[in-house]
């Protein structure tokens, strides 16, 4: 079966920088595909080439087996990381403007309902909060009833409540059997929304697979978190695999009981101990030695 989107040997070079350095992958229809990586990893450049906004230095992107063209532009919905809208238009007028650019799509009122913009439809789009504006931008991306939806760091800068609302919206869109391409540096977002992820660093894809599959492949350990002030200097002599963070010490172990006993024997206070499974951020740290959000 032909994938809905296929990226072949993609390169994008700027003077002195290889922003995208030989990236290849394909995305089957109907899934949420996540492109993860820290700032500067090449995610946005890759997604903008996939969107047909930016020309690659080399390589190609194919949509339903064809080079990016008129059909792609008619069937793709895009939410950029940063977008300004035309001034002095209300939410409804803005949606009417974009709906007018497509031959086919949803009724504007349906999009308003889908993105919970009913109460904001008559408001000047400059007077929307960050979360409301993201909902409007998502609504714009949906006016043509896209087969494939690109979301470039859609929740960056939103407060936790707005992020959660936005995730619910994306899940409802996903339920309509749309293909979603999501870039994010929030691992909780990727774990919640993505069926398949690729982790990028310095223009390369360094890991690819489902979130659970990747974690199972790379980790057999659980992580113990102890606040830094609770971890005495003497405990550093213990035979433990520790990772230093500014506020905490993390200990990776496959034998939880033995590690706990060792800590108790060394009189390490365990009152604020937290045990958690590894997540995608840990995976990124494991793969690159860098934190995901740097």
């Amino acid at each position: 079966m032909i994938p809905i989107l296929e990226v072949r040997d993609l390169f994008k070079q700027y003077p002195g920088v290889n922003a995208v350095d030989g990236v290849s992958f394909s995305v089957p229809a109907g899934i949420c595909f996540g492109l993860l990586g820290p700032n500067g990893a090449g995610k946005t450049t890759t997604i903008e080439i996939m969107e047909g906004i930016l020309a690659p230095t080399r390589g190609e992107v194919r949509y339903r087996g064809e080079p990016i063209g008129a059909r792609f532009r008619a069937e793709a919905g895009i939410l950029f990381q940063k977008t300004a809208l035309q001034d002095f238009l209300t939410v409804r007028q803005t949606l009417n403007l974009f709906r007018g650019l497509y031959d086919q799509g949803l009724e504007v009122e349906e999009v308003i309902r889908l993105c919970a913009l009913e109460k904001l439809a008559s408001r000047d789009n400059r007077k929307l909060s960050g979360g409301q504006q993201q909902r409007l931008l998502l609504a714009i991306a949906l006016v043509n009833d896209p087969a494939i939806l690109f979301l470039d760091e859609p929740t960056t800068g939103l407060d936790p409540q707005a992020r959660r609302n936005f995730w619910e919206l994306i899940q409802s869109i996903k339920a309509r059997n749309k293909t979603i391409i999501l870039t994010t540096h929030y691992m909780d977002e990727a774990e919640l929304l993505c069926d398949d992820i690729a982790i990028m660093d310095r223009g390369h894809i360094i890991a690819r697979g489902g979130p659970r599959q990747l974690l199972q492949e790379h980790f057999e350990e659980v992580l113990l978190e102890i606040p830094r002030q609770d971890f005495p200097e003497s405990a550093r002599q213990l035979a433990l695999k520790t990772i230093d963070f500014t506020d905490r010490i993390e200990i990776a172990t496959q034998d939880l009981e033995t590690t706990l006993r060792t800590l108790m024997d060394a009189h390490v206070p365990l009152k604020h101990l937290r045990i958690r499974p590894p997540n995608l951020e840990d995976l990124f740290l494991e793969l690159t030695g860098k934190e995901l959000r740097t």
């Binding site: 047909g52 008619a74 035309q86 974009f98 650019l101």
Partner: protein, 335 residues
């Protein structure tokens, strides 16, 4: 406070100096303006009066009057060329020294009255020829210029800055992600601005006509055609400027580079009669010159389509060429 102020001052200076194209342009524009003004207004002291002489060239020895100081004598090919200029007060007197001296003077012109006194001292027997037809007031002559100037600013700045703002804010990038083509976008911008300009110019035309009691001698429909083609040409010119540039200062500078010469040499405020030939010829590069020539022809002389056809053709061709160039060089986003 001073430290913060200096920090901002320094950063802004760096930004300005590092924007090389704008810096060069900022230095170049005043120099070009000075050079341009010196050509238009330069030379010895400006003459007080302008007298048209029916001759192919001025021979100072032909008559003592031609040696008068502070009078600019300009050769005029025929009576037909000279009389409209006299009526419009582009010249103060029209003189024919071939045979018995005779002259035409605009009785409504104060300068015409004085230069006539000077002539009669040097040539007491010169025959006076009355100018027929209504005299053109300066305000009537200025009226098309004011309308044209308003159109020019609205066309160039209204479109140029809007497109630049859209590009800088990322709105163009968002539009690029839709099936919209550059040609469609630019055409929509042109048509939107065209409608606005026609509406505003129409209101100004009706309002000012009522205030100054102006009556158009020619066809208003033809005048509308001139306005449409002129606006199209100047809007498309503005689009070329904004097609690919992302610096507001550079766009502002380039627009000034276009508007200032047009303000000076397109004949908004005064006639270029008497200025160097190449300045008069060069002025016809600008669409506004053709708009004003055609509009004055219709509004003041009742010119028909055949008389202003060259102006209409120039405006139509430049509108098309500028729009194609604008679409070709158009960039959706900042590279």
């Amino acid at each position: 406070m001073m430290r913060r102020l200096l920090a901002i001052w320094h950063a802004r200076n760096l930004e300005f100096v590092r924007d090389r194209s704008t810096l060069i342009f900022t230095l170049l524009l005043p120099v070009m303006l000075i050079v341009g003004m010196s050509f238009v207004f330069g030379g010895p002291a400006r003459p007080l009066f302008k007298v048209g002489v029916l001759a192919s060239r001025i021979d100072k020895q032909a008559h003592p009057f031609l040696k008068e100081r502070y009078v600019d004598f300009v050769p005029i090919a025929s009576e037909n060329d000279g009389l409209p200029k006299l009526t419009h007060q582009q010249i103060d007197l029209l003189l024919d020294l071939r045979g018995t001296p005779r002259y035409w003077v605009n009785t409504d012109s104060p300068k015409g009255y004085i230069v006539e006194r000077l002539l009669l001292v040097a040539a007491p027997s010169a025959q006076r020829q009355p100018v027929t037809g209504a005299a053109i007031r300066y305000v009537d002559w200025l009226f098309p210029g004011i309308l044209g100037m308003n159109m020019m600013f609205s066309c160039l700045f209204g479109v140029g800055y809007v497109v630049l703002r859209y590009r800088k804010s990322g709105f163009l990038k968002r539009l690029h992600a839709t099936p919209l083509t550059a040609f469609e976008f630019l055409t929509a911008q042109v048509l939107s601005r065209l409608c606005l300009i026609l509406f505003v110019t129409g209101i100004l035309y009706v309002g000012i006509s009522a205030i100054i009691h102006f009556h158009c001698a020619g066809s208003v429909a033809l005048l509308l055609l001139v306005a449409v083609l002129g606006a199209l040409s100047m809007i498309a010119l503005g689009l070329i400027i904004a097609a690919a540039i992302s610096s507001e200062e550079l766009v502002g500078g380039l627009l000034n580079l276009l508007t200032w010469p047009m303000m000076l040499v397109s004949g908004i405020w005064f006639s270029l009669e008497g200025s160097p030939r190449w300045v008069q010829w060069g002025a016809h590069i600008f669409p506004l010159t053709h708009v004003l020539d055609a509009a004055r022809g219709i509004m003041l002389d009742g010119a028909g389509i055949s008389q202003i056809a060259p102006n209409l053709l120039y405006l139509a061709v430049t509108a098309f060429v500028f729009l194609v160039l604008g679409a070709w060089s158009f960039r959706w986003r900042i590279e």
